[in-house]
């Protein structure tokens, strides 16, 4: 398994995927720094209080995290959906699987290699963005590692799903299904919040079912919660508009949903291994 994981990381490096990600991350961080600096200039000119500025910066950070989370999820889908399918189509996998290499080691090795690339990318660019915003504005979230971990978690959930789909479907089909599923899960999360605010059990049920099927939205709530200063949470607690916003979270994901996310990834990978074992090469 480690042989395949190493090979996969080597592939990302040799095919210049890593360098493209590093350049994109550098661009995104520079743009963020410039944007926050401009925002601060404008806000100070208008005489906003420090608390107001802190609020504005935290909101900008959440929006940036949303965009970055989306990019990360798309990257995971682009990595995962061809991971198995392309190598089976072109025969690279057959040459390796005729060796004493278990199909489970092959699939898990591919996943582990891609996961490493994604987690390192998320950690470096996420922490760099938070750090740069901290230097420019003075605002650092209460626990900066947590939102980055949730962002990476979201991407790993989607990577696992695309790797599973890749054992049966073409890269395009697998990638499309995963991205649509991610979008639907996000919308279901918004509906669930509205359901809670309106006391509508059916909307809440839809959201719960969606989190059970694809726990990305639960992890997104963790990202938002982790980036908010505590006074925002206290102030927005009773506000209807805030409670229904996908960019506000009164609490992070429960230990139960976190545990489920881990089990979910394990189950999806197990299903992927079973599918690949059954497949005639």
């Amino acid at each position: 398994m480690l042989t395949i994981a190493k090979l996969t990381i080597g592939e990302a490096a040799r095919r210049r995927v890593l360098w493209v990600l590093v350049i994109l991350a550098a661009l995104a961080v520079s743009l963020t720094a410039w944007g926050v600096a401009s925002l601060l200039d404008g806000a100070r000119d208008r005489g906003l209080s420090d608390l107001e500025i802190k609020f504005a910066v935290s909101q900008v950070l959440i929006l940036i995290a949303f965009m970055f989370g989306f990019v990360l999820v798309m990257t995971a889908a682009f990595f995962g959906s061809p991971a198995i399918a392309t190598e089976l189509e072109n025969g690279i996998a057959q040459a390796m699987l005729a060796r004493p290499l278990r199909r489970s080691s092959y699939l898990l090795g591919r996943w582990l290699g891609l996961s490493t690339v994604i987690v390192v990318y998320a950690a470096v660019s996420g922490l760099l963005a938070i750090g740069v915003v901290g230097v420019v504005s003075g605002y650092v979230p209460p626990d900066p590692i947590l939102p980055v971990a949730y962002l990476a978690g979201q991407a790993l959930v989607l990577l696992s799903l695309t790797v599973l789909l890749s054992t049966r479907l073409s890269p395009i089909a697998g990638g499309a299904i995963a991205v649509v599923a991610y979008g639907l899960a996000w919308i279901a999360g918004v509906l669930g919040k509205i359901g809670l605010a309106l006391d509508s059990p059916s909307l809440v049920n839809v959201s719960d079912a969606s989190r059970f099927l694809l726990p990305t939205d639960a992890l997104w709530q963790g990202v938002v919660y982790g980036l908010e200063p505590s006074f925002v949470i206290n102030a927005a607690e009773g506000e209807f508009v805030a409670r229904t916003s996908p960019f506000f979270a009164a609490s992070g994901p429960s230990p139960a949903i976190l545990a489920w996310s881990v089990i979910w990834v394990a189950l999806v990978l197990a299903l992927g291994v079973a599918q690949l074992r059954r497949r005639e090469l």
């Binding site: 072109n90 025969g91 690279i92 390796m96 005729a98 278990r102 005639e280």
Partner: protein, 321 residues
């Protein structure tokens, strides 16, 4: 050609009995039974869709048989540990295009469980063997098809496997490359490896194989030593002035048949050709052409494969005219 004596151990390299494989309604293999000995080069022939690649995939455990059983190097089909001792060149050879040639081989060395210290020397030996020693540091993605096939042959021969399975090993090679491959295959067999050669190229099989099996519609239609499959030698004479009544006089050379102006004596020893010609001339026949020898594998193959098939079409008016 003088061949080295074969190293034959007790257990055959491949032994399959009544192997069947169905893909939906199609019988890809319909009861394949065959044995391949150690140290022999076994040619596996058949038209497209006969079940050759399916057989290879079953032998390697890449696909599972619908029924039947088999052993490869003494272990059940698909046994993981046994694959350490099998080298395989797929029909669709493709290797990581971002790796260097030597890296592909060290990767396969690692996958087959070679000790770390052995991987580099084994990779270099294999590259030398297939004539890619001077391209060891080049990226595989820039290789021509023929060079990629040589690299695939190198991975199949890496670490001296006991069984080498080659699926169409010269499909992308030029005539020089084909000759090289024949030498490489013979050398592997002389070292004691069994070579299972899946090929369309009958001349290649004829020149390098000890035994052959011809497969059609998922069944073996002929198998055995090349001599047995090709049949005995015959003499064909294009002749005029000969009638069926003259045939008893030439029966001493072998059983004769006369179709139009073509006289065939089969089987017939080549040594008797001058006497046969003298006999025919003395009977007043006029000889246009004399051919003597065995039928080629190609002829034999076409005969065997054509037997199962309906004629290609009804005779046209032109052909009847």
């Amino acid at each position: 050609m003088i061949r080295m004596p074969r190293v034959t151990l007790d257990l055959p390299a491949i032994e399959v009995t009544d192997l069947r494989k169905r893909y939906g309604p199609i019988d890809a293999l319909a009861g394949l039974t065959m044995t391949v000995g150690r140290g022999e080069v076994f040619g596996f022939l058949g038209p497209n869709g006969a079940g050759k690649t399916t057989t290879v995939k079953l032998l390697l455990g890449l696909a599972r048989p619908t029924s039947g059983s088999g052993k490869v190097l003494g272990a059940q089909l698909g046994d993981l540990a046994t694959r350490r001792r099998i080298g395989y060149l797929p029909e669709l050879f493709r290797y990581q295009p971002w790796l260097k040639a030597r890296e592909v081989l060290t990767l396969h060395g690692e996958l087959m469980g070679l000790a770390r210290s052995r991987r580099r020397p084994a990779a270099d030996e294999a590259l030398q063997l297939v004539g890619l020693a001077d391209r060891a540091g080049d990226i595989v993605g820039r290789f021509s098809k023929g060079m990629q096939q040589r690299l695939g042959l190198g991975t199949a021969l890496l670490g001296d496997p006991a069984l080498v399975i080659l699926d169409e090993p010269t499909s992308a090679l030029d005539p020089v490359g084909r000759v090289d491959v024949r030498g490489i295959v013979r050398a592997a067999a002389d070292r004691g490896a069994a070579v299972f050669l899946n090929s369309h190229l009958l001349s290649e099989v004829e020149q390098v194989c000890d035994r052959v099996a011809i497969i059609d519609h998922g069944r073996v239609v002929a198998s055995g030593d090349l001599d047995a499959v090709l049949g005995q030698a015959e003499t064909v004479v294009r002749v005029s002035g000969l009638s069926a009544a003259d045939l008893p006089a030439i029966e001493r050379f072998g059983p004769p048949t006369l179709e139009g102006d073509v006289l065939t004596v089969r089987p017939m020893d080549e040594a008797g050709v001058p006497d046969l010609v003298a006999q025919l001339v003395s009977m007043g026949a006029r000889i246009q052409e004399v051919r003597s020898g065995r039928s080629s594998l190609e002829q034999r193959f076409l005969e065997l494969v054509a037997r199962d098939r309906p004629p290609a079409g009804t005779p046209s008016a032109d052909r009847l005219r």
